[in-house]
């Protein structure tokens, strides 16, 4: 940098010039700070993604290293999009997504609202409620198969205790009508605390003065709830929904341990189906196309959603 430019910069913004003389330029620091993150993401996420996209146009099978690989254009994609079974797994995934999010938002918000009443030891109970979230999903899934066993598990006996029904009269993971709910229950048990924490943070971010003002205007508690609390917490809730949505769209380990996708294909979520194609049938090309379709779906939905989220934030 030339003497005059430096002098001019120094006159315009003295502190930054002083900075520059003593250390690296801001721009250099910015790059040094951001580069490792970008590099790691490129190497471990984007590079494999591009590889996956490339494979999706081939008939490559990772278990036949010696077989000839040929380009087959969009055939994998057309095969997937015209396959009825895949639409069924999409439906199962949609059911799972909708109900887990709905229940977690409802219960999570209610809990947060209650905890925000600041009763005695509320912090301790919050920590206790958060516990299920810290377990390994694979271990949780494994253990819940045990809890759901009608003869030896806790769940059916607990329900029987409450309703008086015979514990062995129903089977959560064995019946076509109940299995989709069995996975919703476990996911809700595990992740409601996550939504609760976000809601709680949202509730605590609302300054008391706003309520005091509303109280002066003689707004009813009910009205305050709908016109103040809900809109103020909404951006937080939407963020919780975004993260739960992304995670549950990818849901694999918990459900695979719990039901193996059964009965029939009732709980075969897309990730389970994808795993079968990729690591059991070893149709790598086909599975890659499948993965790309899933990624594009999540990416598309998430972008629309993030735009909506930003709008809510601006209000």
């Amino acid at each position: 940098m030339s003497e005059t430019a430096m002098a001019r910069a120094a006159r315009a913004t003295p502190p930054s010039a002083a900075r520059r003389i003593r250390g690296l330029s801001d721009r250099a620091i910015a790059w040094i700070f951001v580069a490792p993150t970008i590099f790691l993401l490129l190497a471990v996420n984007i590079f494999p993604l591009i590889w996956t996209v490339r494979l999706s146009f081939t008939n490559f099978r990772a278990n036949r290293p010696n077989a000839e690989v040929s380009w087959i254009g969009l055939r994998n994609y057309t095969r997937i999009l015209t396959d009825d079974d895949i639409w069924l797994t999409m439906q199962a995934t949609a059911h799972f997504l909708f109900w887990t999010i709905a229940l977690q938002v409802l219960i999570g918000f209610a809990l947060a609202w209650l905890i925000n009443r600041k009763f005695r030891h509320s912090d301790m109970w919050t920590t206790i409620i958060v516990l299920p979230m810290m377990l390994s999903p694979a271990v949780v899934g494994n253990f819940w198969t045990f809890l759901y066993q009608p003869q030896i598990g806790l769940f059916n006996y607990a329900i029987a205790f409450l309703t008086g029904a015979d514990p062995t009269s129903f089977s959560m993971i064995g019946e076509v009508a109940l299995a989709p709910w069995a996975i919703v229950i476990v996911d809700t048990w595990m992740w409601t605390p996550f939504v609760m924490l976000i809601c709680l943070a949202g509730l605590r971010s609302i300054p008391d003065t706003i309520y005091e003002a509303a109280e002066c205007d003689r707004a009813s508690k009910w009205r305050q709830f709908w016109t103040l609390t809900v809109p103020m917490v909404l951006p937080f809730l939407m963020l919780a929904v975004l993260f739960r949505g992304i995670e549950n769209f990818k849901m694999f380990d918990l459900v695979v341990q719990l039901t193996g996708g059964g009965p029939g294909n009732t709980t075969t979520l897309t990730s389970i189906d994808l795993k079968r194609e990729a690591f059991e049938k070893w149709r790598t090309g086909y599975a890659s196309a499948y993965a790309v379709i899933l990624f594009v779906t999540v990416f598309g939905l998430a972008s629309i959603y993030v735009k909506a989220l930003n709008k809510v934030k601006e209000r």
Binding site: A30, T127, L147, I152, Y211, A302
Partner: protein, 313 residues
């Protein structure tokens, strides 16, 4: 808040709220307590039909968790000297002898190395990247941020094959380093987004003042920004650790002998014939402990951390 406040809930309200929350907490705890209790049951009590609420506690599960055992013929058993230790005695009841330690300790240690290693790395990289995004003009900032978020949308199964092939080329398969990089990359999106929110909140004036006092950027970052961001860093660390500690899909596909973590290992603990439920439960209980302690230590930061910065005003 002095004396009466209109926003402070009434005592009755508080009691009711407390009762409801405690009710939920108790219900949510039941499955967890069941896991913990199963760890102290004998294998036959664990699968008893109908389930046993009251049982005679035994350490069998924990003994089986930490040892491998071999069945010996009753004749051999009769020739053996009497058992030296209480755990030998437990095993002998089943016509078995302890053959050696199990791999649970090793797997647990791997989880500690990989879990805490990747947590440290993702928080470190996340902090500096978030600082840069927060304070400097980075070209295409918004696009880069969305790009970072989007890396979380990829189902792990989808990238597992290329990662597997790539790691094989680089010799990173089944290594601690490979797993640390992988988990760091997965956690980075969360860590950058979270921490940017926190750093955005720290008034820029603090740094300006420090710079005028003659600090360099690095010094200002270290001595002013980092202490201010401590809460955010702590809560980010909790979330990163919870993920890395419990991850299963990558671990089961990419690790085996040397770098396998505990989650793929725990369901593999087998007893006589079937799954050894008490040992599985014991393994799961012990495995929960470090995250639990970490969370309790940092619980004050948890609430703030969860807001993900993105919606912080």
């Amino acid at each position: 808040m002095s004396g009466y406040s209109i926003t402070e809930p009434s005592r009755g309200q508080k009691r009711l709220a407390g009762a409801l929350v405690i009710l939920y907490a108790v219900i949510t705890l039941l499955p967890l307590l069941w896991i913990v209790a199963t760890g102290f049951k004998s294998p036959s009590d664990a699968i008893s039909y109908p389930p046993k609420l009251v049982f005679e506690p035994t350490m069998e599960g924990y003994v089986n968790l930490f040892t491998t055992r071999t069945r010996v013929t009753p004749e051999t058993l009769a020739e053996l000297p009497p058992p030296d230790t209480w755990y030998d005695a437990i095993v002998r009841k089943y016509d078995m002898v302890i053959a050696g330690p199990s791999r649970y300790g090793e797997r647990f240690l791997n989880s500690v190395i990989i879990g805490f290693g990747s947590t440290f790395l993702s928080v470190f990289l996340g902090t500096i990247a978030a600082y840069a995004f927060s304070r400097f003009k980075v070209p295409l900032k918004d696009d880069l941020l969305f790009f970072i978020l989007s890396t979380r949308m990829m189902p792990p199964i989808a990238v597992a094959i290329p990662i597997f092939l790539m790691y094989r080329e680089l010799g990173l398969n089944d290594t601690h380093l490979g797993m640390i990089f992988l988990y760091t990359a997965v956690n980075l999106s969360l860590s950058v987004w979270l921490l940017k929110g926190f750093i955005d909140e720290i008034p820029i004036e603090y740094e300006e003042a420090a710079l005028i006092d003659g600090y360099t950027r690095f010094q200002a970052f270290r001595k002013v920004v980092l202490p201010q961001a401590a809460t955010g860093i702590a809560s980010t660390a909790i979330f990163c650790l919870i993920f890395a500690w419990n991850e299963y899909a990558f671990a089961v596909l990419l690790t085996s002998g040397t770098a396998q973590t505990a989650p793929p290992f725990i369901p593999t603990i087998i007893g006589i014939g079937g799954q050894d439920w008490p040992a599985v439960a014991a393994g799961a209980t012990l495995f929960l402990a470090p995250v639990l302690v970490f969370t309790i230590l940092l619980r004050k930061h948890l609430l703030r951390g969860i807001t993900f910065g993105a919606v912080r005003k």
